[in-house]
Subunit: 385 residues, 2 copies
Amino acid sequence: MPKNIMVYSTKSCPYCKMLKSFLNEIGMNFQDYDIGKDARRAKEMVEKSGQMSVPVTDVDGRIIIGFDRRVFMEELGLAPKGGQRKYDLVIVGAGPAGITASIYASRKKMDFVLITKDIGGQTKWSAGIENYTGYQFITGPELTEKFRKHLEQFGMEIREGEGVVSVERKKGDFLVRTEKGEFSAKTVILASGRIPRKLGVEGEEKFLGRGVTYCATCDGPLFAGKEVAVVGGGNSALDATLQLIKIAKKIHVIDVAPKFRADRVMVEKAQASGKAVFHHSAEITRIFGNDFVRSVTVSQEGKKYDVAVEGVFIEIGSLPASEIAQEAKKNEYGEIEVNCKCETNVPGLFAAGDLTDVPAKQIIVAAGEGAKAAMSAFEYLSKSK
Amino acid sequence: MPKNIMVYSTKSCPYCKMLKSFLNEIGMNFQDYDIGKDARRAKEMVEKSGQMSVPVTDVDGRIIIGFDRRVFMEELGLAPKGGQRKYDLVIVGAGPAGITASIYASRKKMDFVLITKDIGGQTKWSAGIENYTGYQFITGPELTEKFRKHLEQFGMEIREGEGVVSVERKKGDFLVRTEKGEFSAKTVILASGRIPRKLGVEGEEKFLGRGVTYCATCDGPLFAGKEVAVVGGGNSALDATLQLIKIAKKIHVIDVAPKFRADRVMVEKAQASGKAVFHHSAEITRIFGNDFVRSVTVSQEGKKYDVAVEGVFIEIGSLPASEIAQEAKKNEYGEIEVNCKCETNVPGLFAAGDLTDVPAKQIIVAAGEGAKAAMSAFEYLSKSK
């Protein structure tokens, strides 16, 4: 058993909350440092980990970056729970789609397991949600917490912190391989969502966690009073900008398009702040620095110039996490093609949420699609017996 | 200004709540009588109105049956807000689909008007909801209230209490006719949901509000200690039966099928009560009475018999409110056919929620479809300019 656990976190970071509630759950004592408030501890964290990204945990001198339930269970000497058999249904992913599918599957008393890296998916990262019908305003972490509570009331089997590696057909059933084992099921709902798109420029990999980040909600507080860049022009880029306006000194919003695609209300708010500088028809070509980011090179309509920034928030969209299902038919963007009943081209294989070709990538839409997928899986099983 | 307003209501009736919150909103004093508790006032209401249906309002001796915001505004001498011009978008109906479409349209700053008979649609009538993701348990009226608050925060133009009569194409635009006027728009989202199916027998029209009702939640309390009939064998019929078991003396459940289609747990509860009498393979052929319902004639496997009841609760499903759009392509059930983007066969005409052919008739699904429809209308307008 470890003797001394120190958690470096920010108030706004969902993974930090998950980590801390996990430690409480298993009865581990720990020291919690809010580095958004305590500059000395912030410096200490960066020195220990070489990272500008929370959470960082010090377990008797061993440094763990981020939060992965399984990694922590291993580090703390706790065995993961086991057990395998044939299910009616495996649900992959627990964003709004996977959670709603699980709620519907539970109410239909289906025999299923929910396998997921985390709870909440992209919902977690949103600073403020005003368009999930029924909640006038709610933060991503708060809505995630409500989703989790709703999920847990049904007492279903959840394999959290477990990534799915592949989903294949085997003799009429499905074989779902995870990082830790294998599951057999008659039907599968893919709801593994999307992963952030990378910029693909020099310095991006090198400075990841050292100024380069894909999560303004988590890492924003580390850049108090600093100049930063936000890359992108959609709702998520403007959402990141609005979060950073409260924290950073100046925000350079750098977008390839001549005009933002974000909702006008967000653009107007950013403009009104006086802190945002817009670079349209512009792209970052390199990220520079020593130990941490120092500047970016911007190319704008044939001209090149450097902008001194200490943070680069990349918000240029995401890619569907669809590669685990080789047999599923995909569109040109790699999104799984579904019909209005969430059926894929493979009988018994359903997909819901942001990894599908349904055009609206929205929490409320993903939730609705999850309900449909569960009802379709139920109908499929009723007919196949 | 009226001097004396008396409202006869029941605790459970959503229209009663809407009426009372409307009166409070416009600053009108009124006397509220809960006729579920006060038998003398219940009798008084029936005498004044000739109705066994709440709410009934007495405004200085003038009797108003039901709640229609526009009727009340006229009766109370308040002018309805006017104004007509060409909109980008008209949204018809404010159930979960229309409300979510309106929220999305507001955030996109679209120039639109929401025209609707009421707020909440079928959601209002649900006694308990456990599968709207994010709310572990919530009643229909409570969720409707949350939806309404969410809607109102955007300050959009809402024409409540106004039914749409027809939606037609006119020179590339749409002409939306209501009971009160006409609206011109570039796009329309149909989200008018479903209406209760009628039995189509003698006496049904005549005794509507005088024993015949389509809402157990609203009118149930008027039948305390009486014998009643529930028509139907699905979940909504059994839901009505379970509500009435707490109130009525005896409930005759009359269903055309030889076996109930409702969830077994509901049927078992009704059986256990000892108050429900099941008539399978049976149908009502006539409803009799004088001023109010006295009995029904039942036809069962070639035999006919009369059952003395004072209330007839009709719960035989619903029909899509799709006849307002003549040009929209429909399936065999009268549901408007949509693709995954909520587009109909008519360019610029979108549909969302329970009046479409999307198979899952669920609140969370309708909400998701509403979001899609608004985004599709926005995209259509962006491209058509």
